[in-house]
Symmetry: C2
Subunit: 344 residues, 2 copies
DNA sequence: CTGAAAGCGCTTACAG
DNA sequence: CTGAAAGCGCTTACAG
């Protein structure tokens, strides 16, 4: 096996180009381009000869040249808080499943939940002149908002809906409604001393908690001391720690709403270690309904959010707009489902 | 809020270009380019004037033009089985944390564990003329191997090491060694009727199991009927189902090695439901040591794999090569750690 | 430290 | 169905 150390990249020289293919197949570059991009506009004979030349030469089209000369970059930029997050994985898969078959490349970047990093990421992405963009959330810096408006590309803001008018298109759910629904469910089940655990505390977690607490307040059951949050990332381990802290301050709790399923897993594990029976002594509920939530013991009551569909729908909206369609419904609320299981 | 429906992308006309900035700041395009890419080679006065013009005009550089004219695309292509997989998330984060600060964009695509999809994905990525590429695994189609050799860009094959010579660079661990280590550990602990559960069954899972079973065979303890695998994706739910099936055929098992932690979670949950005490009646071990494994009850014995570091190291190797360095060590074995906990 | 010329590899718009 | 010309917006290589 020969090593390739030292070679660091293809200098222009020596690359096989469209004209090489054209020369070999005895047609113009224009015709090769058509054979590649609009094969139906080229005679079958020519198409075959071109294909043979491509194979013989090992021709690889150059996207940079294509996007510079053409009107499209065939690229979609996706801005999310973090690729290493079970929630966004599902969203990404939905986007990918629509974009990839349509011939669009996905440019992906993390904001790490920082408005500032979001701004610089979007600026950077704009230099690729993506044909469309998907951005997480409705909140962004004003300067970014202006940049995006100036870029004038189709844009879908995802995850949440209803907190403010989107820049262009919007698909997601109402996190405050979802939080409220969980609170109502818990009240119906008879819980009265209800705690709340939150991590990460991005806008959507905050709205979830706000919606939840507002309903408790209506019943006169809100108590700030029962709400424990941190800006640390949401993990199973953290769920256990937070529950321990919360119980220390509020030994009399009869239920806890966790802002994320992984926190809820950690809380359930902590209860197991302390021999606290769930839900008999303490009910626990989560949010997002991740894959393991139906399997854990006790199975976890949670809010199922349409993560995959949010990604898929966002990408489809983009594709439709790129096909010239005018969308009647630029804002789509995909809704959520409360999954009542054993834990609460 | 004005809607932007109907606008589908920036036609070349009307874009602010380098020359516009040059004109406004009274220097040549060349100098603006330098002010942008090698600021230290331009006088501070000029740099300031150029920056003012950029701000005033809202100039956004065009990467397509840059990569067409230049020798670099400032893009790294990453080929993984699936973005929505906790294992690869960590790898991706490692890659991202090195590439993003270095000014490299990440192009990411899924093979969905298919050699065929891998081939077409790599062909597609090559049209972007990425400066480097990271590909999962050592096995690939011969045609792809040739394409990659012809492209002559730095390439790092990741995740596993030692099964065959890499095309260029390589970082990962030996999955058969890791499987073997787990088998030895279980034998030391006194387990003798040991089952194996596998899902997905990509090359690396296969090698994990092979390494594990080979050690059992040395002790005369291998039994095909105790190995249950499926090509379905690895999930918590599947872990429970597989364990149920395995116990049906082998009620006398005293331990089970699960090829992935999520299978192990499912197996533990299933034991809880059946009141099988872990590890007293049945020991359970996993692989990858995901975040929750230390928290579940009983805490999970697993093999910790350096996922983040694999990604980080691969990206660093690429960066070093792109900086012209010749690597003394093109193959890096990052090793693994057996985490002995309560479950086995 | 700064600039004029040429060209990267395609596609658009116009013909025929 | 096919082609000749021009140009997309940058950077390289060469000067000075």
């Amino acid at each position: 096996m020969t090593t390739r150390q030292g070679q660091t990249g293809g200098r222009s020289k020596g690359r096989v180009t469209l004209s090489d293919v054209a020369r070999m197949s005895g047609v113009s570059a224009m015709t090769v381009s058509r054979a590649l991009n609009e094969p139906q506009r080229v005679s079958e004979q020519v198409r075959e000869r071109v294909q043979q030349a491509i194979d013989a030469l090992g021709y690889i089209p150059n996207r940079a040249a294509r996007s510079l000369a053409g009107t499209r970059s065939h690229t979609i930029a996706v801005v999310i808080p973090s690729v290493s997050n079970a929630v966004f994985n599902n969203v990404i898969r939905g986007i990918y499943d629509v974009c990839a078959p349509a011939g669009y490349e996905m440019l992906m970047g993390n904001t790490y939940y920082s408005v500032q990093q979001e701004s610089s990421l979007i600026s950077k992405f704009l230099t690729h002149h993506p044909d469309g963009m998907i951005v997480t959330g409705l909140d962004m810096a004003d300067s970014t908002r202006r940049q995006l408006e100036a870029a004038a590309i189709p844009l879908v803001q995802i995850m949440e809906v209803g907190t403010s008018a989107p820049l262009d298109m919007n698909v997601g759910i109402s996190h405050s409604d979802a939080g409220a629904a969980m609170a109502r469910y818990m009240l119906e089940r008879g819980y009265r001393r209800i705690g709340v655990l939150g991590a990460q505390m991005d806008y959507r977690s905050q709205r979830r908690i706000q919606g939840f607490v507002d309903v408790l307040a209506e019943g006169g059951l809100a108590d700030d001391r029962r709400v424990l949050t941190t800006s640390e990332p949401s993990t199973v381990r953290l769920g256990g720690q937070l529950l321990a802290d919360l119980l220390l301050r509020n030994p009399d709790l009869d239920a806890v709403f966790c802002c994320n399923d992984d926190l809820a897993y950690g809380a359930i594990y902590e209860c197991q270690r302390r021999h606290i029976r769930v839900p008999q002594q303490l009910a626990i509920a989560g949010f997002n309904d991740l894959e393991g939530s139906a399997c854990i013991n006790p199975s976890l009551t949670s809010i199922q959010t349409p993560l995959y569909d949010i990604g898929k729908t966002a990408a489809q909206m983009l594709m439709r707009r790129l096909a010239g369609e005018v969308l009647q419904q630029p804002v789509v609320d995909l809704g959520f489902q409360l999954r009542a299981r054993e834990s609460a």
